[in-house]
């Protein structure tokens, strides 16, 4: 087994990591970097619990090979509130009660953050499309959709 030395910017910090070719990004985040906020659900690209932002796009980290991430910029759930203040999508999910067991929540927050970064004024369709790959089996989606919509409004109001 050969190792690849990769340099990544993770949640704003530069890191060098030695990864074997068979390691997924999800495994690297959880097992090598200790970033266990990113959850391992299905490991098949179906459930979205492992969603992170890779070079600006929401991706399933279980479907990415770590070695191919050399030079990449990655944001995980730990990077959303790195300043100590919750991100707007986190605040609104809390206010709306969009969390029950919480296992899907980090993935949903990363999908929502990536959506608002690329589209600050999403329609309800855009929101539902953005979280179409995030399965929640207890809260249901209405409160989550409302929370993301309110986060978009609050961020737009703050910009004005």
């Amino acid at each position: 087994m050969s190792f690849h030395r990769i340099t990544i910017r993770i949640n704003g910090n530069l890191e060098q990591v030695d990864v074997p070719g068979n390691l997924t990004l999800l495994q690297m985040l959880r097992d090598k970097l200790g970033l266990t906020g990113t959850k391992n659900g299905c490991a098949s690209g179906e459930c979205g619990a492992c969603t992170v932002i890779l070079n600006g796009d929401a991706v399933n980290s279980c479907m990415v090979v770590a070695a191919e991430c050399d030079g990449a910029e990655i944001t995980t759930i730990e990077g959303l509130a790195s300043s100590g203040d919750l991100d707007m999508v986190q605040k609104m999910i809390l206010e709306e009660g969009g969390v029950q067991c919480g296992f899907c929540t980090p993935g949903i927050l990363m999908s929502a953050r990536a959506l608002l970064n690329r589209n600050p004024h999403p329609t309800e369709f855009d929101i539902r499309d953005a979280i179409s790959g995030n399965l929640c089996r207890c809260t249901g989606y209405n409160r989550i959709v409302t929370a993301i919509s309110r986060a978009a409004e609050a961020e737009s109001a703050a910009v004005k």
């Binding site: 070719g21 997924t24 999800l26 690209g45 499309d129 790959g133």
Partner: protein, 300 residues
């Protein structure tokens, strides 16, 4: 599924060649145990589950021409092999001139998967259920392939040989897929029937495309491709010929849908029975044709 700790088998190696030549030579030298690697949305699952015994994942993303999407009104559209579906669907030229392609991309899995999944990967994996293959065939897509003997073009009509089998040989790397400018006044539809609204594989997928053409006896030409109802993505030439020769009305559109029903050979599986699939091919083909006809007919 036995995957308490999910991941690829220990023997899997990641290879990042510096050029297409290097990648092709490596793939030839390790034929049978290596494969070109794009979005990985199919191969990670299949390798982890032991369906594919691939040892070497040869990353061809970023190699010559694989990352670009270009549009020239005189020539058409070229989509690099590594361009993810979300980027294709959001591209202004695709939205304006190839909306059928954007619609097909939109039906693939979920947003996150489409951040990685590619049209060229979808084509090369040659699943009969591939959502973007029908649109790619009907828009006259041509695959640009770099192989041991250099570049060659592979038109998609005739490219598929069976489930997962294509004209590609060891050492071949699909670099891009190109589409000519579609005919004036065209309209297309992709209707996908899944077990749920988003994310599932197609039980049946119907892609149809139509445009006015004065050289056809009917004044119009239609193209039809069916997914998940045969070993390969299926064109329906008999229905296409009928619609070019007979004056179009609802009865003729229904007749064409019946020909689609008769031409497909689906199987029973967990997503649906063969009988159900055939009937849905007829209904969805008719719906797609009626919808397209309402948009392209000149006397409307």
């Amino acid at each position: 599924m036995n995957n308490a700790h999910p991941g690829l088998p220990d023997f899997v190696e990641y290879v990042k060649p510096a050029s297409l030549e290097e990648a092709s030579k490596f793939l030839v030298a390790h034929a049978g145990e290596s494969r070109p690697f794009l979005g990985a949305t199919d191969c990670i699952v299949r390798m982890r589950d032991g369906i594919w015994k691939t040892k070497y994942l040869v990353d061809v993303k970023g190699l010559d021409g694989t990352n670009q999407i270009t549009f020239d009104p005189a020539v058409g559209l070229t989509i690099g092999a590594a361009v993810p579906m979300n980027k294709v669907a959001a591209h202004p030229a695709v939205i304006k001139h190839y909306p059928l392609l954007a619609e097909a991309c939109h039906w693939v899995a979920s947003y996150q998967l489409r951040s990685r999944a590619t049209i060229v990967g979808n084509i090369c994996n040659a699943s009969p259920a591939g959502d973007t293959i029908g649109a790619s065939m009907l828009l006259e897509g041509v695959l640009r392939v770099f192989g041991p003997d250099g570049y060659r073009d592979e038109p998609l009509n005739g490219f598929f040989k069976g489930p997962g089998r294509t004209n590609l040989k060891p050492g071949d790397i699909a670099v891009s897929v190109s589409f000519p400018l579609p005919p004036q006044g065209n309209s297309g539809r992709y209707i996908k029937l899944g077990r749920n609204k988003l994310g599932d594989l197609a039980i049946v997928g119907v892609t149809a495309f139509g445009y006015p053409d004065s050289s056809a006896a009917s004044g119009y030409r239609f193209r039809i491709a069916l997914a998940s109802v045969a070993p390969i993505p299926l064109r329906v030439p008999k229905a296409e010929e009928l619609l070019a020769s007979k004056p179009i009305d609802e009865a003729v559109l229904a007749e064409a849908a019946q020909l689609a029903y008769e031409s497909c050979t689906p199987i029973d599986d967990v997503r649906g029975s063969a009988r159900y699939r055939k009937q849905m091919v007829r209904n969805l083909t008719r719906n797609a044709l009626v919808d397209i006809w309402s948009k392209i007919r000149k006397d409307a």
